[in-house]
Symmetry: D3
Subunit: 294 residues, 6 copies
């Protein structure tokens, strides 16, 4: 990742890039298992400094790529267990994980590990979907349900959860009811169209305060024109400029982890979805606590 040194564990690191090559929680088009590989390949084009914000993450923090965690492609609950245990180890020594997904299922075991250390976390969640489904085909664990599982287990500080970019047709006449009932703030894509999101992010920063929070970024929050390489694209989404406004708007928050999920590179022969993923991960790195600006 980003021509960083590769090391086997998170020991001694402030920040670790971690791949989670799992996609068997995907309801529609699989392929996100190759997200980590392709994001790493495209990240070769990401350079050392953030020319726009002046952030100098590699001068500020010890960062490395610790490779992929083990998953079991044939058994989703078992994969979740493996991920949770790996992340418990990563965060044990105070390292902040930046995750290359993988489908969105993986955020559930990651937040299990993070909440075990930090208590319930705030959440900035960019996505086309709320991912708060109850179950599908009778199964509780898949990429449409991670945040309901998190709520049920008390991993989220529900008054500090914001979901941005939500849109699309739904199975349910009132698709945001569950979220509202938990106290989530849902910002539909319609409220974002053709607008700067800086005002929104001012409110979000106030809401998050200085308590631990997490950024979960599903690449399908963006419009498919920018990110065709994903499994459940929805039309009329966010732009990359808005994505940068959201992430840069998190500067100053107490970020304890981030993920970028649902890059399925075979649906984008140009490689640009993975390039976008690599840049968004770099921008997340640039807003982590302790990153100096030149």
């Amino acid at each position: 990742m980003m021509r960083l040194p590769v090391q086997a564990s998170a020991e001694g690191l402030d920040v670790a890039f971690v791949g989670v090559p799992l996609d068997t929680g995907t309801s529609n088009r699989p392929g996100a298992r190759f997200g980590p590989r392709q994001i790493r390949a495209e990240s070769a084009m990401v350079r050392r400094y953030n020319g726009s914000t002046g952030a100098a993450p590699f001068d500020s923090l010890r960062v490395a790529d610790i490779g992929d965690v083990n998953v079991n492609l044939y058994n989703l609950p078992e994969s979740c267990r493996l991920i949770r245990e790996s992340y418990q180890e990563i965060v044990a020594s105070g390292c902040v994980p930046l995750t290359l997904g993988g489908d969105h299922t993986i955020t559930y075991p990651i937040l299990q590990a993070l909440a075990a250390k930090h208590g319930p976390v705030g959440l900035v969640h960019v996505d086309a979907h709320t991912d708060t489904g109850d179950s599908a085909l009778g199964e509780k664990i898949y990429h449409g349900s991670p945040f309901r599982r998190c709520v049920e287990e008390g991993l989220l500080d529900c008054g500090r959860v914001v979901q941005i970019g939500i849109r699309g047709s739904s199975y349910d006449p009132d698709p945001h009811q569950y979220c509202r009932e938990q106290g989530f703030r849902v910002v539909p894509a319609e409220e974002c169209w053709m607008k700067s999101l800086e005002p929104l992010m001012r409110e979000v920063r106030a809401q998050m305060g200085d308590k631990p929070m997490y950024i979960s970024f599903d690449i399908d929050g963006l419009d498919p024109a920018y990110a065709p390489g994903t499994g459940t694209p929805e039309i009329a989404g966010l732009t990359p400029a808005q994505a940068l406004e959201i992430i840069r708007g998190c500067k100053g928050l107490n970020i304890v982890g981030c993920d970028l999920v649902e890059v399925a590179p075979m649906y984008d022969v140009s490689g640009n979805t993975a390039l976008l993923g690599a840049n968004l991960l770099f921008e997340m790195l640039c807003v982590l606590p302790g990153v100096k600006t030149l």
Copy 2:
């Protein structure tokens, strides 16, 4: 289409999805004959409710997919005859056709059938091109001329015609002269750039009144970044958000039919142009008279 039941005729239906797999009216890149097939495939991702507007079309209306009408790929005038006759049958029983094109030639025989029933109709026409050419290579019928043919046959209520998204280089120094002379309102893409189209649609609704009107949506009205899978792309077009504003802005109008044309899927390996087409057809369905909102 949208996992709907398939039936052989429009009998007993309020609304019918109809495919018209014709593309021999295409001047540049053919392939729209596969539009219906690919839009149907991608429509598997469209769900039951409109999460954004609350529309519940399947709870409100009897809707089915009645398959493709017959066309004659080797004889354009004959194809037009076949389409006109099929649509006369569809509309005879009061069914509203939602058409999956096919190139834009097909709107001419469709409007022949609709005007025979409803009289001259108003038109919301989204497109990069006005499609009011006189003839090409000496032929009167092709995808650049349908609306001139409609004017000549009195199928349009010319004072209630709006063309949105028009742009691009032209064969003629004053390319909108014919349209202006008929009383059409031409809204060039330049007037739409980086703007919400809600104010425009308020004016359009006032102009349309409660008389019968038709929506004809050429996917090349959108920018090629969103809809690369089409035959005559033009740069600097509309966005999907604006497309939704236009269609949702037709809510309350007396819509007697809609089409979505010029999806040529082989130019978009991601499948997203067809996905866009499927969603726009769903949104058209959601604004039809009689659709309840939850």
Copy 3:
């Protein structure tokens, strides 16, 4: 190009389209050597008149395509010499060259030829990158350094240089320092997001005055969603609408040459990057001195 006559030299022409099929100055993904071929192919869709501005370039000026200049793919400095000499011949008789690149290296020898005739020129430079690097791998000539070479040789009137769309991560903590020191105006992409660039262009016109100026348009100035077919894409770039605002905003200036570079068509199977390039070249043609508006 644009179904124009092909001729062997620029003699007797007001404007010549010229291809420069060189891409060995490329740092990341090569392929721009096929830019001229593909732009020409897609330009078949560009018609005679500018429907938006009313410009009638072919009624106003003698325009032809004079084919590709010779380059030496295995020797960059030698290629620069060949290009410079070809352009000296082209501009000798007063012809304005519109160049189909090729990677950005080629602007250096082109400006050598132009400045030899016109003296130091003003520059409207659209790009994701400033291209003012000093050297790479010890080499002074590659596609990241042309404008530093131009400054060193006094080819630019530095107080009339504007760079628009700059963004992305950088090797240097202060990536625009060199540009600022020369007196360039750098307009980062962030200042362009979701905004009309007409106000900017009013300022640019005032700055350029009536002295000779050049337009250098790197297609990666646009967002990769619109222009995936390029070698060093950067996320969150300009839109085609903004590109048109920039070029149309140059109307009235004393333009002595233009280029459109870095189209690498194999990364865009839809052909739309080259289509965009062809249209932008047409728009450049439409703003040249002497073009009448109908």
Copy 4:
């Protein structure tokens, strides 16, 4: 499928095409869940008669497409149970299933259903891999193990099992040991190169006799040049001509079912892998007991 009537169950049919859209047993590149959809789409080009063999299947047998069986994408053992039960129902009335996969995992529950009716079956298995792995990541059920599971449950008549096209690197120094120990005949790809397989098929027919047998055709048995759209391609495989020799060589055998698996269409933008799959399924249909030759 092949423009056949669609019906909900196998009742009254001699032969049913059945889709099994499962790919979560895939070890490398997923996507075979879309095999049934794409094979059906490409089968539109398959016509009524076999011009080469004279077979007239639709004049001889009652054939229909009964759609897809239900699978549970998030739970492989549960999917196997669902498939087995569906196939028990299909074969109950004497119908022969022709399956559109899906990854190779599915052959295991299909053979459970068939062996329950017919007893242990013979097998012509075309593949790059023997698919007799014991387990992967501790899981017994995935696309590399179906035939070991079948052996363990006595579903195969091991003296009548032939595996053709086997090749590639292996985890094990003696990769065919297990197969040999069961009495399988393994025909490596090397023995097939540049040879007609008609002599082999004469021996196979003798070996199969007139007892029930099954054809399981993994598209990766073919060389990736012919079938790039698959998940675990191996170089230097069979040709389509050899595939036809194998299937046509089964004419006269007591075939009780067939499958064509591992078509992952997103890796083949030309559509030709699915076209190949559709044709191979047609050829299987043409050699079923009871098909007349004109």
Copy 5:
């Protein structure tokens, strides 16, 4: 084409490359209208001499590319008239046309022009299909019927017609009956598999004698692995080596014209189908009467 001079007419030429950008006779996937453009682009890789046979066509004959003939995309019979008249002019002065198709419909008017000059011609026809259909959708003219039209008009010397590579499913139980009745020799693909075609071509040369003959090569005669860019691919076809054996095997015959049809480049992003087409046209050129061997 092959970096040849372009000229407006066939005057003074021994051989002319001619493009016929028509594809509205296509039954399945259109796109062959772009065959000429793409074959010309790929022919840039074809060099001056035939390294394998020693043929030196450009040292022996006056050859040029005379561009595309006019066609009417919206009217097939009218297109046929335009093509016939253009070819009458080309052959009037003794020039041999080498045609870049376009769909197979075009061979009908080409043979009208050739037979008017030379009388009924012999034919080496490489194809997956016999193209002797009577009509489709009631139309007599489309890409499945040219050779029946030719028979009806006495353009073919039926005792000297050979069709090679025929295969695939058919609408008719005896698909070759018509051909046999006319006295055509049909060589199914099955008779070609894994065999050198040199023995066949010895027989063909004897059959053709020294009377005028024509080569019509449908790229779908080849297997889709080699030529995916075509409209009606059929599995298990010829190889490029066999194609070269066929064409080289025509050396010494009285060839009065050749065509290479049905290259639809958008189905082959690698460009290799067009490259194959360009090379086969070069090989046809190399076996024309009067070409010297070094």
Copy 6:
């Protein structure tokens, strides 16, 4: 590569995989600079043992991937110097390099380093082209000339050079004259068509004897159907089966190095050209001196 350990130098290794990401010696389509990256990615599918030959390379030799050597993309002669020096270091300690190209230019400096250690080497060269050009555009160093440079510097034992798969049109009426004059054996593709190459390889083994020899495999030796991802494809080439026969036929020879060049992955979206490259490199590894067979 092949999930091997990565190490910084060749010290302590019997065999090293080395990448050379250079493609600026390419005459037609560039992109081979990404060959090493893509071959490594696809090599994840290569397993530990050679199931066909029983070779167990990783049980026999110390093998690692030592990454890419440095190249200078903007200066070909300088790149050659860098490569030569890197390989001198690699072979100094007795390590055998297996190279992932890169265009064919790189074989020249590699053989400089090898001949400095071993004296003039024998050569098995698989390619569509002899690569013995004198110069292009006045330059001596590019991908069409490496073996002439090697002859001039006495790096090859010319009586032990075999070139297999040569074909295609040529600039020269007698394209193999130079090779014949040096005593090379040229085996044109025509002599390989539809034949096992085992007899040829028996002769090659006799010719090579037990003196040092090198294998240089240009992926364009194979037919473009198998290897579309390359820069100068030529039709009617070898098959992967023949490639395996050639490499396996080198077992027992005194191989001192091997390369696999000209994989340009962007021309093959399926990834299969790189997969082929990875497997051919594995097969080369399997025939190195000292590899045991189980």
